[in-house]
Amino acid sequence: MSGWLSALTTALDPLCGPVGIFSLFGQNSLVACGDAGWGDEIAFGVKVTITLALATLPVGLLLGFLIALAAQSQDKLLRTAVGIYTTIFRGLPELLTLFIVYYGAQLGIQSILSTVGYDGGIEINAFLAGLVALAVVFSSYASEVLLSAFRAIPRGQYEAGDALGLSRTRTMTLIILPQLVRIALPGLTNLWLILLKDTSYVSVIGLADIVRQTGVAARVTKEAFFFYGIACLLYLVLAMISSFGLGFVERWAKRSETVR
């Protein structure tokens, strides 16, 4: 099953597959696939970037949703508590958040292990650290988007849910969430594009994403302009594909609205 799946992804690989751009046009050049060129390394970087962004998205969305819920609670203490969270993580540079998570987790786990009696070095998974840092930043921005979407939904919608005898959770999932998605989608689209760009920071802590892989290629071949140009181009293409796909999602979400 998994062999079949991996064969399919190899066949459909847009960069280094049988009909990939690098394999068709990059033969005998710097971006050839295989040992001759850097095509397959860069393709791997693209895969890492996309995986990281896609893995961060659900975590960040869920966290952001919970924070938005807390931020509109009637309890003042809870509002203050999540207010501190969003203030901190919207104020810190993403790069600094990444370092704080990366080195903080490393030192924290090391100190915990040393109390247990283990004194070896510890290397935190860069992917995981990147995921946590990006999710934290994403969630604090997403909570603002979702909060303003929550405020755009009239109270009467909740009251109607109560009047129909729906429980709080069912009101949320059946009445509020569908409208929330529609209102928040433009803001979340923006955040997704920002997230896609922010994944480039993980190259600094050594994760083999697009920037890292093209950087290695640039250093080895001394063709920095060419390879970093490719990196920019790849991000551009990813952004275009995303906005194209999200356009479909937006039309799908708005399909119930009357055409005016």
Partner: protein, 276 residues
Amino acid sequence: MSAVQDLIPPRPAPAGAERRHPASRALGIGILALWLLLAAALVLMMIEGWDYAKFQRYAPRYLDGLWTTLSIVGLSIVFGALLSLPIAFARMSSNRLLNTIAYSYVYVFRSTPLLAQLFLIYYGLGSFRPQLETVGLWWFFREAWYCGLFSLTLNTAAYQAEILRGAIESVPRGQREGAAALGISKAVTFRKIVLPQALIVALRPYGNEIILMIKGSAVVAIVTVYDLMGQTRRAFSQTYDYQTYLWAAILYLLIVETLRQVWSLLEARLTRHLNR
């Protein structure tokens, strides 16, 4: 004749069902306690790890880095604002070619990461050393600081052009038509009527852009500019002290929060004629 003999006397409204959420209160207290614990740990860590020699050694460096960050952001915002003017006008012009060029510029710079742009300029253009030397621009692209400034400027110009365009287009058509009816020239109309109204709309996005630039400027540390982030990284690599990052976090938060407060005061002041 009515079957009702006496009316029900008026009654007070039912007491509103008091919604108390013990769970959310407990959660709030829990999270706040967590924050307090973290803050206490932070303070404790700083007191315990206090080292006057280190402070003496690194405090001036941090201030120097802070100054570098502020100056690079300030300069790039100003240069970006200048560069954004022609882009915004090209974007609004009816000339297809100008419009396409400006749109592509904005699209490219907004949808690629700042880090990749910076590398493209610093390492990429740096590899054309002989050509740059013949043109006499090598002194510029040799310095990481200039390259950082250049890429931040190009990046923010794209964002500022969009802010400016949106703000100018938000001014109603009738304002221009009214000015034309009064016989005011186009240039004066723009300067005295359109721009003041547009800048009020643009005020908040500009503030957000400055904050984004302060946060984004941290990437120049990676190409060896010793801004606040760069000094922090250097201090960490020399001391392996986690506090270095916490100090940087405090400084960045301080800048951003100060800017936010100042900006909201500014906005309240400048829009006071709109309050009713």
